[in-house]
Symmetry: C2
Subunit: 228 residues, 2 copies
């Protein structure tokens, strides 16, 4: 799998979270051309989509929001991220309870849609902010999965497309450092799985976000509802 996006024309998967916001900031300084794409799959943390719009605007990268809500209401069910009746678990990503936040095959769905878009506009491929810290909970964030998708992307169209994962070997605190270096507007990124006014500070992704800033030694600009 290719990690270098230098001089490529890439569709950047932008969730509006810390990692993809950092990736978009990084991409802006490296690629030949970029378009950001965000998927509305009915996630309860709607602020994520607003954050994506904000950071794409700040970085002056063209941005499309793909409305998957109707489609995903059929195929995604039973995840705490999309079902209001399932509570978002608190605690660390490593905890077994965090499996409630799995949306099965979400990355393959988003990658395949982004690859279709990249093929349609003649781009080289799709960049995703998969990183070393994702692996514990989500099978479809692992490098071996990304490699399989890269192979499929290379075969799906007349022109060979690629999956670019520049951060695949980095831990989250290293992504925070990269974000600082490229001036990515991570203060406007949104991580929390609960879509309230401030980050809850307790769910898996809040815990991880806070830890990343602490380990990186970077002041955390996030407003949290609670401290641990």
């Amino acid at each position: 799998m290719t990690t270098s996006i230098t001089d490529k024309r890439v569709v950047v998967l932008l969730s509006g979270g810390l990692d993809s916001t950092s990736l978009l900031g990084y991409a802006r300084g490296h690629v030949r051309e970029a378009v950001a794409i965000t998927f509305d799959y009915g996630q309860r943390h709607r602020c994520e989509i607003e954050a994506a719009k904000k950071v794409a605007g700040l970085l002056s990268v063209p941005h499309v929001v793909c409305d998957m809500t109707a489609a995903c209401s059929t195929v995604f069910a039973g995840s705490a991220l999309t079902s209001p009746s399932i509570p978002v678990p608190e605690g660390h990503y490593e905890d077994a309870s965090m499996q409630a936040t799995v949306v099965p095959n979400r990355n393959m769905v988003m990658l395949s849609m982004a690859i279709a878009y990249a093929a349609g506009i003649g781009y080289d491929g799709v960049a995703i902010a998969a990183h070393a810290g994702d692996h514990a909970v989500y099978p479809d964030c692992r490098e071996e999965f990304m490699l399989a998708m890269d192979t499929a992307a290379g075969l799906c169209h007349y022109k060979e497309l690629r999956i670019f994962a520049p951060f695949v070997e980095f831990r989250k605190e290293q992504i925070v450092c990269i974000a600082m270096a490229v001036h990515a507007p991570i203060e406007f990124s949104w991580s929390c799985y609960n879509g309230r006014d401030a980050h809850c500070g307790k769910c898996g992704t809040c815990v991880e976000r806070r830890e990343a800033f602490a380990v990186a030694g970077v002041a955390d600009p996030t407003l949290y509802e609670a401290t641990p």
Copy 2:
């Protein structure tokens, strides 16, 4: 890649065309459990979706239609199958003009959605009617692409999922023979890319449909607007 669906629990990709209708008929007699899924991606040949509903009903297989129209209006553009302004080419699939009917990465998108659905309901995987005749025009119908997607499906979730392609080595006329043997209601299937009252008889998929019946030596039940 696995071709045998015997005793599996599978989500069957059902477009409503000849191949997938045959596959659903074949699946009914072989699998432990089946659900059919059809994707509305804004195809101009809407009769295909009605045909899918009809054949699933006749075969008594539960059927879901996944509304991808909003999502696909963002990512699919420039194909004659979805853009009313681009005419559907007439002639044989082998012709270069038939590339206008390519919807980039459509199979990866549909497979990924169906895999997500299969994961959500605890099934073994997804069956697709990819066959030997598809290969000339559509890269994402080739066996090597299906193999790559099978590898990705095996890695995307906690449980290993599979892509099943029972027809991957068969030509279309052989699929017609299988359909006859399993009493698949192919007389209600819809192939034509032009969504009119009868099959046009001239577009690539009509030409291929007609040829398949002729080579198989099976009486063609299809009403065509024109004979060649």
